[in-house]
Amino acid sequence: MLQCGRFFWRPARLGLNSFLRSVHSAAAADSGLSPVLLTRARLLAAEHAKLSEKLAEAFDAKVAKRAGEIAPVTAVLKDWDGANESIVELKSLLEQPDTDEELRSLAIEDLDASREALPTISDRLKKALIPRHPFADLPCLVEIRPGAGGDEAGLFAFEMLRMYMSFCSRRGLRPTVLKQDVEDGASEDRLTEAVIEIEADGAYDILRTESGVHRVQRVPATETKGRTHTSAVSVMVLPSFPESGSGSDNALNFDDPNSDYYIDPQEVRVEKMRASGAGGQHVNKTESAIRLTHIPTGTVVSMQDERSQHSNRRRAWQVLRAKIAEARQEAREQELVQLRRGAMGGVARMGRGDKIRTYNYGQSRCTDHRSGITIHNLDGVLDGGDGLETVMESVRTWMADREVEAMVAEETLKEEKKKMKK
């Protein structure tokens, strides 16, 4: 550490740029905070200072919004700097030969305390640096579909539907079933597709961890020889957009042709499904199904649950919009991954096609393959209770870590590019 301190001071004569960089490397040794992240934080802090100045002169909603967004970064960065400064000061105190013993022991104590605090501060800084997901504030739709595994998958899909319904109820979010299609068969609990809507703002951020393929391993009720089967259920968490774009400055306004999530009505084929033959007064059909097809992507949504064709149509549009927005977001993320791959050499990323979690009845455990957490209280998970909450929380942390990694990779790439130019 002594050396470190010296190293810290030596390049002070060189230009500011190299000075900063050495600070980073010194800090990195201490807390594991990547230098690129620190650069990014400093840039944001500088931006915040500038914006605050602007705001002091005249108020502007946009500027205020941006300033509010990056304010936490600035605050945490200040803490971080404070902690580092005190470490440096204490070290220099220790270095001086004329410090008396009592002061020395106090300084050592303080130094330890500051060193301990540093990792938590850097963690906070990392979290503050992660950009918010564009859909984070939105309510969401959860689509559940059985995958491989036949009847058993349908049965488990129904159980998952119940799990999420009770999870939402426990969290005080109100879930509504938009669509619940059951398979033809003896029992009503074999899903072919279900969509639930959770209308609370920010529900997307809460349930975002659930997108992917969930695997179940158990002896199904339909099995006669007692063999364990493995089947899969796919869950998709989609953003639910507010009815008719409310805010005009909102990037999520789907009515605005410039928005990323705009769907041209011309590209959607609307079909009211109706039996052929005479219509009008001659017959009195109660069918009210609607099918929407987004022609460029081939996305199909059909709705028949309501008696009113109009509410079926509204719901179908809601789901279609959500699906397309999610697909576009996915595509954008994929692009970023391609970009980062060069820098990081293979990025761990779980798409919707990847197996993310296993529910094993035999061992009564639930394992999430992303965070690696295993919970040995399967019932607690399937009830949508604390077990599920713990798993989701661990995934959230995992996701944040991935985000940070990705961010580091991106910044490194940027810097490399800069160097190349030079």
Partner: protein, 396 residues
Amino acid sequence: MPRIPTSLLLKAYRENSLLPILLKECRSLDSARNELRWLRERAVRDVQEHSRQATRTRQGWRTRLRAMCHKRSRGVPLQYILGDQPFGDLEILCRRGVLIPRSDTESYTYEAARLVRQMAVETCKDSPSPSGSKRPLRILDLCTGTGCIALLLHALLAPQFERIQIMGVDLSPIALNLAQRNLEHNIGLDVLDRRAREEIQFHRGDVLRRNGIANPSTGTSAGGDAIPTVEELLSQHTTQSERDSKSSDGSPLPKIDLLISNPPYISHSDFHNGTTSRSVRLFEPRLALVPRTDTNIDSNAISQEGDKPEDIFYRRILELSQDVQASLTILECGDKMQAERVVEMFRGNSPALGDGGETDGVFTAEVWPATEEDCLANGFHVRDGSRCVIIRKGGC
């Protein structure tokens, strides 16, 4: 009706013992499943409401549901069992004796609202002074039944037009009673603006009876208590000041912006030969489906040579449409052929009017939906099914 295969019945039974009962009327498993869900929802809700009111009904929802399913299997329309039918954003109450609103009619009403808006924009462009604010938008709905068209048009147009005047006319007192209840019901549900109470009126009237023509043939209907004609209703119930401005041509009738109607249009043979489904034939009012031909008082006076008896309402309504100078007339017809006959009827009529009446602009008639795209988007079969005739000033 083809027999339902046993395998399908078995499959339905395995799923739910009530499904085979519903299958008798629904014919497909999908629609039986949907109807069962809707019936179950209603049965559960009804029982809950009853228990809250602590009435003597001790019936559980299962018993209730079973009774409902049996009713349905006898062919009673779902809407009569549930008591309502969604129509656009509205909830239209239904009862025996009044025709149930069809989704075709819903599509025509939406199209009508779209055309009215378009017309308003065009006239605003033509004349710098906003004529719309001076005079209310006037709509006449003949053979209104449940009042669904009148109510939905108000719900759709109220945001754009400050003043609207809608008159719904029907012959049946039961229908008028229901239409009035529907008005209140939808205001209560908050899907209809409060002003609708003043702006929509339902009146009893005989669309087929002509004004001024005494009916010597049937002395019974002549006299003080005769059902008024549409002309009489119009001159009685439209505000005086509005009429003065447009009385230059000497016509006593106010100008109507939109004349819309879903009159009875099923022919006598179609009613009996299986084109009309059993449930409709047995449970919906014949008055609203088949034009009266046998007892009709002056059908000879209205229809011209070559007219089919089921088209009699169109002849009369086209005549009315000219009298009230309707800028837009929308008539529901049973099929493409009938719609084309109505268009022919209109073309045969208009030159006769050319020399007498004053028309500023040429009227065109078209059948809607005509393109395959329109059919699909609005749920119409490409060849079969109902169509409507749109007659409007200018047009394309």
